[in-house]
Symmetry: C2
Subunit: 452 residues, 2 copies
């Protein structure tokens, strides 16, 4: 057998040689016999990083990809060449009488749809691709679609928040009823909080939507979440920055979470997003086109509202988690390196080791605001209960109330970027409730039940 040095369809070495010699292409139907087992499916491309492994990846008819080990006994056979695609473009008629919604794509799993011919995952980014994939959204909204970014959500920075805010703002200035923003789930909560702050006087909803399972998996949540998000953007009487994602494991309802109060709480579940210290604003039943308000609505839709863009974020702000045995050097470094603000995730009611209080006091004396939040996530900071808290107050630390550490970080970055760097003004604005990021009343039902 020959082998090729360069990659072929992502495969390398011996496997690349076999595939090239047989003239196989991605999308061809092949059969691999090894020992007494036979695997049949569609040839898939290989991730280059693993291309050197002696494996061929095929998509089985049940939708799953498998890697078949190619040893000396393996026999590969072409079943059918990939059919040349005879493309009859479906006629998509949009109804302009429906609310006009713009779909802004920033990247993430949500914008990946399956090419059912090859089984490969490709982005769905145009109006035609979206409506071909999830036709129901055309019954809810008149859609425009724009790609504004294409990055993994873990790579987003405060500079990207500014861009996303500007693009959403422009759509409102054009009179759009709502905006849907496709976003990777990893940092969606941070960005949803950032946009909540960066667009003042929102005329309608800004709806962040993502997918926990990519669209080549049977359990994908992409279409369900998209239907729900467009319904909220077009029809919900809410003018806030929200996250719309699956509400439970089934396909019954999605939840509308306030952007400043939401957090990704599970690595992989479809209902990973949860409101913390707040009820979700609404429940959405996309197939019945029903939106049921279950929480607090702080801003109602008002198309005469003139939005204001305040989208400068300071990118020299740190979010630091306290842990036992933490040394002051981490804070010393932030001061020396000219950081402009620090949010600390303390323990319990908002504590850190007493030995670290002097360095936080030093930060304040150098004009760096320090905000304390809790790694408990649930409940509210209270610095008046124990002496450590009272020492933190004396040191000038700003209490974060019941704000999520992530939201306090975004808010501090926004206040330093768009408002002021004056320490006393920063304190005043951090304690001000802009977007419901502080819930004045934490009721007993806001804590989940662990034992079911």
């Amino acid at each position: 057998m020959n082998s090729v040095d360069e990659a072929y369809l992502g495969y390398k070495g011996r496997i690349a040689g076999i595939l090239k010699n047989m003239g196989l292409d991605v999308g061809d139907r092949i059969k691999i016999a090894r020992g007494d087992r036979v695997f049949e499916g569609v040839l898939m491309p290989r991730e280059k990083l693993y291309g050197y492994r002696p494996i061929i990846v095929i998509k089985l008819d049940n939708g799953y990809n498998v890697g078949v080990r190619i040893d000396e006994t393996a026999r590969i056979e072409l079943v059918a060449k990939k059919k040349p695609r005879i493309f009859t473009k479906p006629k998509i008629v949009q109804r302009s009488s429906l609310p006009h919604v713009t779909f802004l794509s920033t990247g993430g799993t949500i914008v990946s749809k399956v090419d059912y011919e090859t089984g490969a995952v490709k982005p769905a980014l145009t109006v035609e691709e979206l409506l071909e994939w999830v036709p129901e959204i055309g019954e809810t909204a008149y859609i425009d679609a724009k790609v504004i970014l294409n990055v993994f959500s873990e790579d987003l920075t405060p500079g990207h928040w500014a861009l996303i805010a500007e693009k959403a703002y422009e759509e409102f200035k054009k009179g759009k009823a709502g905006v849907v923003i496709a976003h990777g789930t990893d940092t969606m909560g941070y960005t949803a909080a950032a946009i909540a702050f960066a667009i003042r006087r929102k005329p309608g909803p800004i709806v962040f939507v993502g997918a926990q399972r990519s669209s080549d998996r049977p359990s994908t949540d992409s279409a369900f979440n998209l239907k729900s998000a467009f319904l909220v953007a077009a029809q919900a009487d809410i003018a806030e920055s929200v996250v719309v994602m699956h509400g439970e494991t089934g396909d019954t309802y999605a939840l509308v979470h306030r952007g400043v109060k939401v957090r990704k709480m599970h690595t992989s579940r479809r209902d990973a997003f949860q409101s913390i210290n707040d009820l979700p604003i609404a429940r959405v039943f996309p197939d019945e086109k029903k939106i049921e308000i279950i929480g607090r609505v702080l801003h109602r839709r008002n198309k005469d509202e003139d939005p204001l863009l305040m989208n400068k974020f300071d990118d020299k702000v740190a979010l630091i988690k306290f842990y036992p045995g933490m040394h002051p050097d981490i804070f010393e470094h932030l001061i020396d390196d000219g950081y402009h603000g620090i949010v600390v995730e303390g323990t319990g009611l908002g504590h850190i080791a007493n030995r670290l209080i002097p360095v936080l006091e030093k930060a304040r004396k150098e004009g760096i605001p320090v905000v304390i939040t809790s790694q408990c996530l649930f409940g509210r900071i209270d610095l008046y209960v124990y002496s450590t808290g009272r020492r933190l107050i004396e040191a000038g630390v700003i209490p974060g109330s019941d704000m999520l550490p992530e939201t306090a970080y975004v808010k501090l970055s926004w206040i330093l970027g768009s408002h002021t760097t004056d320490l006393e003004k920063v304190r005043k604005l951090m304690l001000e409730n802009f977007e419901g990021e502080i819930n004045p009343r934490l009721t007993v039902n806001l804590y989940p039940r662990w034992i079911i």
Copy 2:
């Protein structure tokens, strides 16, 4: 009116002068009339920090403390001097036939009991004080009590973990059936994980217990938690390091959480502690003296087990939370400052910004192990799903599976301190399941329900 410069009973200035001139003491019953209102109760001492405020604090008969503002119209009157205490020591007879349990006190709200005469909160640290306060524990165990530390839990360090492990180990070597450790709630999860690792081959349970509400409040959870903890230490067929705290808002049951899987999830609720990615091991009904196993028991009680102390912790380990806009300088600093290990709280399945991967690779090249966990808390790390994860694998990052970030931090500190600093051995040991810190099977019921 005279005033005194120095504090009197914690009061300062004008108020100190009034109280001193009247010859009042803490514990005296007084009446304060102001306008048409009259307040009567027991005079309380004042926190020095707030002593200058024109307020006198009294404990009302309903148990609550109130601060009464003393303006020019206020009239203060002595109702009755504090009664000299005629102490008839209750005869406490312990039954040595019961399982022998040692109570080790490290500090925290739990060891504060109310002096019902003065209303002041004082520590309960001796066997007599404990049994006088919560007589029921004498029906469960034959008790010994020792004060090993008196620090706020936010001030504990890995050095304190070593001490606590040693003291608990010594009790097992003496043949004790179990150990109860009174601990502040703020960092109890961290310490419970540390002791889980530091004592190998535990013959019986090590039970951490704390209180969310101090014992001068009607809603105190101290006595309930203590009864539950002693019951577990004396009778539960579990030989692990566990946390025993209220299971719900009422006084019906406590939960036994595995120390390596537990987290304080609320700043103030009595049921703040929750098992993450694991069921609690058991439910405890202290008044019925009933223990119901509801989860996995990994080690059963065995009094012939010969415990092994491995209590060295490396205190140059950092726990760093990733956030959007994070700069590499924080990691650069840890490398420059000679840190020995780093645990990162990534997003989602275990991601960080791609721009930070080179500095983590640099850390590994300098011999510093880097472990990745998820700030989602629930679910498991999977670095094979997205390219960012695969790049992290290539960079030599150690995946933290479903370990809590806090537990991964404690474990890395223990492995570096008690086992090895060899990078490949550290990796192997981090992936080894010592104490159930990795749950091989995450079932669907391990995720709490938010909407009730």
